[in-house]
Symmetry: C3
Amino acid sequence: MGRKTGVREIGREFYSNTKTNPTMSKPTSNDGILATLAESPTSRRSFLRSASLTAVGGALVACGTGSAKTAASEKAATTAAPVAPESGQTGGTMGAHDTVKPAAAALSAADAMDAMHEKGIKAFPAKTAVYGNQLLEPKLVDGVKVYELTASDMQWETEPGKMVTAMAYNGQVPGPQIRVREGDRVRIVLKNQLKESTAIHFHGLEVPADQDGVPFITQPPVKPGASYTYEFTVPNAGSHMYHSHHNAAMQVGLGLLGAFIVEPKNKAKEPKVDQDIVFILNDGAHGYTFNGKSFPATQPIVAKLGQKIRIRYMNEGMMIHPMHLHGMHQTVIAKDGWDQPAPWKCDTLNIAPGERWDVIVNCTNPGTWAFHCHILPHAESQHGMFGMVTALVVQK
Amino acid sequence: MGRKTGVREIGREFYSNTKTNPTMSKPTSNDGILATLAESPTSRRSFLRSASLTAVGGALVACGTGSAKTAASEKAATTAAPVAPESGQTGGTMGAHDTVKPAAAALSAADAMDAMHEKGIKAFPAKTAVYGNQLLEPKLVDGVKVYELTASDMQWETEPGKMVTAMAYNGQVPGPQIRVREGDRVRIVLKNQLKESTAIHFHGLEVPADQDGVPFITQPPVKPGASYTYEFTVPNAGSHMYHSHHNAAMQVGLGLLGAFIVEPKNKAKEPKVDQDIVFILNDGAHGYTFNGKSFPATQPIVAKLGQKIRIRYMNEGMMIHPMHLHGMHQTVIAKDGWDQPAPWKCDTLNIAPGERWDVIVNCTNPGTWAFHCHILPHAESQHGMFGMVTALVVQK
Amino acid sequence: MGRKTGVREIGREFYSNTKTNPTMSKPTSNDGILATLAESPTSRRSFLRSASLTAVGGALVACGTGSAKTAASEKAATTAAPVAPESGQTGGTMGAHDTVKPAAAALSAADAMDAMHEKGIKAFPAKTAVYGNQLLEPKLVDGVKVYELTASDMQWETEPGKMVTAMAYNGQVPGPQIRVREGDRVRIVLKNQLKESTAIHFHGLEVPADQDGVPFITQPPVKPGASYTYEFTVPNAGSHMYHSHHNAAMQVGLGLLGAFIVEPKNKAKEPKVDQDIVFILNDGAHGYTFNGKSFPATQPIVAKLGQKIRIRYMNEGMMIHPMHLHGMHQTVIAKDGWDQPAPWKCDTLNIAPGERWDVIVNCTNPGTWAFHCHILPHAESQHGMFGMVTALVVQK
């Protein structure tokens, strides 16, 4: 369960799938990024400092110490009012308002609120012990890819020190990522260590009915202590999911879910991308999470300027989440694993429960970009950002 | 109000519209199915047994009696652990987990929960006395199709024995289905037997303003005991609705709603389908319902392998409902009665209040497929499936 | 803060942007409407009377006085039952139901409910002192368009006499409309008169990261009494927004939001329209609002028969709002400022938080058309219509 600290780990889940999946062609374009990250300083704070002050034009600003200064501040200095001494700001863009002098009490309250906000952002990406959505390597048995998924009760850390009651596959929330190719023969062995029965539904995969995972319709429930084996030839490509289909409002809410990615047989149809990212939304008993973590413990996406990334959104929750990326648009290419008739662009993509949407982001705008659900109470409170917030860092 | 029991009735609302609507060409492709169903045993249990054990490859499994055995179980037997005696399962896919032996208490609790789940599924499709969405035959008066809709208070049975306070047109929730052709002259006579005023809005139809049904904007409210007549030439084809537009949050929530289907003048533009199914979602005071019924009283769609079915989703509720079909994808062809620029595929289609979406399902995958809203708390609790769950049965 | 009364003001926000925006070509098609409105009687009631009885075929009906009579009523008279004396209706379409005589108590209760409903509709469009979304004229400084936005606490009137706690830019909810052209150089000077810090994010604009407005990521928070200047070259066309990105769940909910419209450099790509309307949805502490107002204080859209109008929906709330227009369909042309691959039609368009959708309505159907969110509890209660309701008036 242990996990090495440091920059190497940042974005690991995003890169690892293309690095390690034996069914995919050997990636080359990511190697540069990974090498760079590997050579970076190893503390999180160092990473952020490096990202904001050296590598990234508009990245995280060191604030609250009177040193805030942005490119705009210099450009705008001639039109801005002089510095408000009581605000503690020295940047040219900041100035006392010319007609109203705020009460000291208001400033003090504002400072207290801002300190909470700053603390959250400075903590990002906060380290937690275990991450979900790790690529699961199959065992090859007579040409069949065999995956073992053990469902068990556990405590899950959604952000540093916040432990929630969970049900997990292989100790991960989301469960380990399964990534196969269209036409592969796969066997999934479910072992049930829960205190209740369960079953796995392969959401989006057009498997034979007896592999569909719905207790009392297509199979018996898998009792505590029992195991059950699914086996099928992977029928259709795309971004799919696997999750419990028994007492599912609770079991999926508590973590029995994961990504089931199917590469198409004909790779020529796939967009060429530098990163292929699974982005699972949830909103149940664990709070508002991205890949099982809440801000500031969500993981950033780190890309190099000019890279093209693919994001596979999957909503395993009970609510819509309109995902808003700052700074760059998203080009929607597929819905539930099926190509859209024509790609279309947006900056805010509404993801409903059970849906998967694939988008391409061309990382053409350097900087650290907020990336969050635009139902604002899912992302921010008076105490600062929380829940469904992460960042896309585009490094120059 | 009486309704004959038996298989003939199952899916009747789905077939009847193409059978009996005088404005439609005589269907031929459904006759085979109807004949088969007519010859089937007449009890619901027999139907299920027949569907699951003879006609349908992966249909409902008889479980909990130690006889569960699926195709996969045999294939997978070599990799699965031996049977867990305490689980009562003998299928080759089930086995005791090799490291953890569950406590008897956990198994007992699991058995109790599973029994509730099984009971619900075994009860499906549970019979209720009256069904909504029955095709309403017009009277032809001087070339005008005349429909009478009487709004009244009633008790409505959403599942066996569960009576809810309702307002209904002609004693049905949803109200009777109106199915006409573009260019038809229609007259709708509303009779108000409610204790409050009402009015009918033809949602999606581009009627003249004075037929739009909004009290105090386009007409006076129709008082208790009064009647009101709408008349117009049907302007635009597609899947539309009629519903109250007076105190509508309550009146529509209580059942004053129905489908208003308009066949296009030019039938060449229509997809050729074997079944044309109206699927109305609601989530008000009656709970989570499909065509006025909650699982296990929802009605399955029964198709033959290779058939093509059209589903017309209509949301008359207050919440989104992302409709997930297992086993096969849905091809979206129209929104609110208007063709999409190009068809597109999905397995989970988000339907918002007031929207109608038309999809095609090619029934290529035999079996009994769960078909439900993917907001899981609308479909399942610890006590089993409920609410927005039905099945698509594809018979070999 | 004062605002002239009268018809001239009705729909002012809708017309003013095309009238006064110096970056747009001089409109000609609206002049006729504006002139007509300017010559109309100046009281709201007069407007309504004129709209319903003279200009608009199927407009607001004077009801409840026994004089209700519509075109349909005459056509339908032969088939309708005679007048129910106790209902107080004399129109030919109304009649006593032939089998049930309602109790006097029911009629009395119905009359009481109807009177509340009528009162709301008769009050529409109810006048309030100040309107948001007024076009903000820039100061031109060395070729830069300079906008000043002052954020302050205030009381905001969402409907006559209903004051809510607000945070507003320049005393308006929504804040003033900014309308520029792709490639313009703009400077936005934010002055913070709030009691807490704030910042502005330009939602949808692909600005450099240091202008993105996210405290502690791209800039320091702007403290009470301080000012901050943003400056950038407008990068991408479309319907965008600006709003607070600090304590935003509260600040945006209380009103710190506005439209940021960017005309494309190449005007040939734009649809030619007679009106260009910004339609901002919100659902926070202010209730359910369109452009900061709740029915009956929402403003109608008034168009001439044959006009083509563009509506730019923007959702600044926390919930979806499926916007349903009666009588005519909406042709969707853009999402978040980006053209859709092909236009598509609907009558109910689901708008999620953070999204913008641009639609075209061809005003081909004369009358007064209800236009509302189809989550009915956002639009109507037993006390009548409220919240997210307005009308599109198509004048012959």
